[in-house]
Symmetry: C2
Subunit: 336 residues, 2 copies
Amino acid sequence: MKATIYDVAKEAGVSIATVSLVINGKGKISKERREEIRGIMMRMGYKPSMIASALTGKKTYALGLLVPDISNPFFAEIARAVEDEGQRHGYSVFICSTDNKDEKVGHYAALLQQKNVDGVIIGTGIRELSVLDPLLHGGVPIAFLAREFRSVEVPSVVVDDYAGGAAAAEHLIALGHRRLAVLAEQDSISSSRERVRGFKQALEAVGITLDPALVLSSAIKESKASALALMRGEHPPTGIFCCNDLLAIGALQAAKEMGIRIPHDCSIIGFDDTVLASVTDPPLTTIAQPIEQMGQIAVQLLVRKIGRPGERPERIVLRPELSIRQSSMAPQTEIS
Amino acid sequence: MKATIYDVAKEAGVSIATVSLVINGKGKISKERREEIRGIMMRMGYKPSMIASALTGKKTYALGLLVPDISNPFFAEIARAVEDEGQRHGYSVFICSTDNKDEKVGHYAALLQQKNVDGVIIGTGIRELSVLDPLLHGGVPIAFLAREFRSVEVPSVVVDDYAGGAAAAEHLIALGHRRLAVLAEQDSISSSRERVRGFKQALEAVGITLDPALVLSSAIKESKASALALMRGEHPPTGIFCCNDLLAIGALQAAKEMGIRIPHDCSIIGFDDTVLASVTDPPLTTIAQPIEQMGQIAVQLLVRKIGRPGERPERIVLRPELSIRQSSMAPQTEIS
DNA sequence: CTGAAAGCGCTTACAG
DNA sequence: CTGAAAGCGCTTACAG
């Protein structure tokens, strides 16, 4: 039913080798023949099968994108940037949501290598690096996006998470806050660890120590409950740094439930600057990541790696930026 | 470098045919041989190449998902549901953002058929159905999701958009509104047209006619500007029905810019009930779609179609539901 | 119960 | 400038 290279060869009265050459613009085919064969392909609606050509040494022009959850706006925006930049280089992308579970990462790693993808972008947290073995041993190029593992030499784009955490702290300090809390992601997520570290260091730089009891790791579904725990303590914080916008939203909801006014009673800072940040009540002060740029660079690095596997992998660090909205202000109430 | 079926055959001292049989659990292989070969595959880390097996008549186990924009939270949530349900049936999914442009739809249609995907879920607006020809003629099964074209017999899941639009109108009417406006999507989007039609009919049912000047189609990027146009008219509406949550957010922003208080001065209703609706200021009254269910059903229908191409395609209609939050209330101000 | 052979739709040297 | 042939990694009848 679908035309194959044999059909167009027969129609053109040439061998399939010749047709293959014109498809790939190789060899020296007379101009007329070339034009004629092109015309026949058009007329027959012939498109070479990518799986057949992939089997004969060419690429599959497919990429995998591993993220914790495509429905999380941050990763959805990343995915769009990756998709667009991928298209620009001729690649399609498979979405792979891992829920930050090694088990799912491993599953997708095996699957993607079985599917012979040309490369995979890894933007998900991983505990045990060995779950990537199917990719690493299978010779599938990878690039890290917004996550990284210094132990392995792989191209990566990250935002300076440490600096971002520090910027959040400095903003809060400048506003006059002293008693601060942190809502972090799981510990397996390197970016989250760095943000907390930067936040903590910046506090210590001005002589404030972060109360360990006020640093909570939380899954996104439990962000509200975690924030409630933070706010219900004996000495509630006057400001909370949340390691992503979604966690910040949980904090916002917790505050609303407890009748705590944001930012009057407590300041909240997020991280990411997704669409969400501009629509919350109140709009969220957050540390903005250059999302589109990160996605673009990730595919550029990966594509380069695919092209020249031997080259030394690059590591690109982008600067996050404080975006001030209405969820932060100077502390108003004196909390005993 | 990667092990092939030949490597394991040699290692096991059998023919590749035998190995193939144990891979596929076919034929009658003695239990010991089967176990032994399984062990060897494990040890060598052998996984059959999906592209090779796809070339020999089997499926590629890849699906395409066409949506307007994966970074739009509604479609991101759809994508997650499609990905998960796809995995459950053994399929991976390619993301394809079309920006509702026929040109991109056509591009992806051709690309997906070249990649030999087993099926495509279409959740994007299309003006000229012929852009799907590469799929239709290529014999690639498709299913419509949240969009549809009655002219072609294809399995589809939709929400009763007409009823949803009517529900929005009824809510507003019950609240006491009489002068209403609509912020719609582009006309090529069937779901949007239906929502507007339902809204309008419900108004007419109680003797209110919708002023055509107060019905605007708007791209998402221009939603704020369009809402401003609506609100700046001589007789501004006391309520605006927006055909999706993102448009409603544009309206919220326009109101804020003009100093119009929501819901006191104007009620706003969205459609979709994505995460966004619960975090806006104020939280959005909206018509909720069963997003996860829609994604699941779409792949179930598609998978069924792939399995039994001859069967009569099903059409599943789900009910949307009014979700009341704080962006709607009885009209307060008397606007001349 | 298992192997030899053809074939899927291409690409790539190698001849001529 | 163009064709015959081998090969990519599998699957599937067909023999035996």
